[in-house]
Amino acid sequence: MQYKKRVAIDKIAKIIFKSTGYLVLALLGGIFFMLLYNAIAFFLDVSPLDFITGSQWNPTAAEPAYGILPLIVSTSIVSLGAMLIAIPLGVGTAAFISEYASPKLKTILKPAIEMLAAIPSVVIGFLGIVLVGPGIADLNNLPNGLNALNGAILLAIMALPTIITISEDAIHAVPQTYREASYGLGASRWQTLRKITIPAAAPGIIAAVMLGLGRAIGETMTVLMATGNAAIFPKGFFDSVKTITATIAIEMGEVPYQTTHYYALFAIAIVLFFMTLVANLIGEYFINRFRKYHAA
């Protein structure tokens, strides 16, 4: 009797956990097919070539233009700018925590960095409007600070926790024997960090950067509030930009359903989906390589 009960409970538990696992897969698949279905409806109206090469996004004009290029360039400028700021800061912080910081300082720094991840994006966006934006305007003698640089700085702040945490894990996981061998040859701490530890942790650091990049590309509220959202083709960091995410957020609320404009938003959403997917896949690939490398 006891035995039968145990078997039954195990069976039920297995079914429950199996179904939760499949539910997640179904959600991912469902979202992907919804995007794809609506995007196909869009490409029946507008040729994919015009969509990819068009340099104007202006769906509400008398002659609607559905060129995704300015949006992709905007998203790229902001996220790559964010990475330029976040990578040195993040990897430097990770190296400091792992190699230089005293255990006491470590116990303060690590939770503090994780707290940074808990700040809501709308709060970061608000900082961009009242603090970073006016600061940029003052320093560069610009009339306003609502530009790509503002977005990049804010996104760098948001990507930092991801980059620091994963990089720190990677640097920490480099076997102690590597360092000892280096010290044994007379190398200094700096030489060891630069030539031994960081190269050995490189796959993990690349993974950290890619996951941080994925976060930056997909971020909506912050860029919506801080980058000015001008539809014009951006020329540099001091121009206002309108990213893919901001475009979807702004236009989805007012677009009449089942129209070309409505489908167009799904088409750009699928482009965004692939951009973050590629960043995340590269990140996952390097994380796995890193694990295998050190498991051996």
Binding site: P143, A230, K242, I250, E254
Partner: protein, 286 residues
């Protein structure tokens, strides 16, 4: 899978969710109001005042733009849609397709003000020059005010009723360089910093206290080069419909919600509410 079947699938799923949500909350007494950002502050003030006369009354108010409010009405997610523009033909057709009858209430008159930084020497502008600026044909202040600086346009997002109102009134397409700001307050703050900026906001957002308006200047508008310049803050001019950028504020209510919201509508059109409307910087026209 064809279009209809797909839509049916989606709506079944959505229906399932809404029944789930519905059973969790008592929606009988709660009025859901969505729409124009211009009207949000006013609607909140009205609802708070009305609540004092009827404590059982509760109302959920959110903004997002006139278009969003009307879409929510279509999707059955709102009882009242605030809108600073009439329905478009496309929207009328959509309501007809769904067999939804709408009641329209005009409860206040709004004026849209054009603002510049207080260091900008101009005090008035005619409609023709304004449309050249907003459409991007004139990109430098030189021909307008004499200062040789590029013009920065601070506008609203395309979901805003004010955005489409100005576009229709000026009969232009906005300059691609125009920034799309998330609200009236953000435009005012940007103009306070930017000496080369120009923006448009609901007159209700221009405070009556002088010290709050430090850094901004409200432009008087001339219908053409020879006519009188009229300020959006002049109540008699608005009452006589002389200001170029003035418009009625609408509320759209589906027939089936009418009974639920009737006492509130009476409060705002005839009762105490009219005083609040005037105090908030809007105008009554009867």
């Amino acid at each position: 899978m064809n279009d209809m079947a797909f839509n049916r699938l989606i709506s079944t799923v959505l229906l399932g969710f809404s029944i789930l949500l519905w059973s969790c909350g008592n929606t009988d007494h709660t009025i859901k109001m969505k729409g124009s950002d211009t009207e949000v502050n006013l609607a909140v003030n009205l609802a708070e005042a009305y609540n004092k006369t009827d404590p059982t009354f509760s109302m959920a108010i959110s903004g997002g733009g006139s278009g969003l409010g009307i879409t929510s009405l279509l999707n059955g997610q709102a009882d009242i849609a605030n809108s600073s523009r009439p329905l478009t033909e496309e929207e009328q057709a959509l309501f007809k397709k769904k067999n939804m009858l709408l009641k329209t209430v005009v409860f206040a008159e709004d004026a849209t003000a054009f603002v510049v930084h207080s260091d900008n020497p101009i005090t008035e502008i005619d409609v023709k020059t304004l449309s050249k600026i907003m459409s991007g044909q004139v990109e430098n202040w030189k021909s307008v005010s004499g200062q040789d600086v590029p013009i920065n346009i601070y506008g609203r997002q395309s979901s805003s009723g004010t955005y489409s109102f100005i576009r229709k009134k000026l009969k232009i397409a906005y300059s691609q360089k125009a920034k799309e700001m998330t609200g009236n307050a953000q435009i005012l703050e940007a103009i306070k910093i930017d000496k080369s900026g120009i923006g448009y906001v609901g007159a209700g957002y221009i405070s009556k206290k002088i010290q709050d308006n430090k850094g901004i200047k409200v432009l008087k508008i001339k219908n053409d080069a020879d006519s009188n310049a009229i300020s959006p803050l002049d109540p008699t001019a608005i009452k006589n419909r002389l200001y170029f950028f003035q418009r009625p504020l609408y509320q759209f209510i589906p027939e089936k919600s009418w009974a639920k919201v009737l006492s509130f509508i009476q409060f705002e059109t005839k009762g105490e509410g009219t005083k609040i409307i005037e105090k908030s910087g809007y105008y009554l026209i009867q």
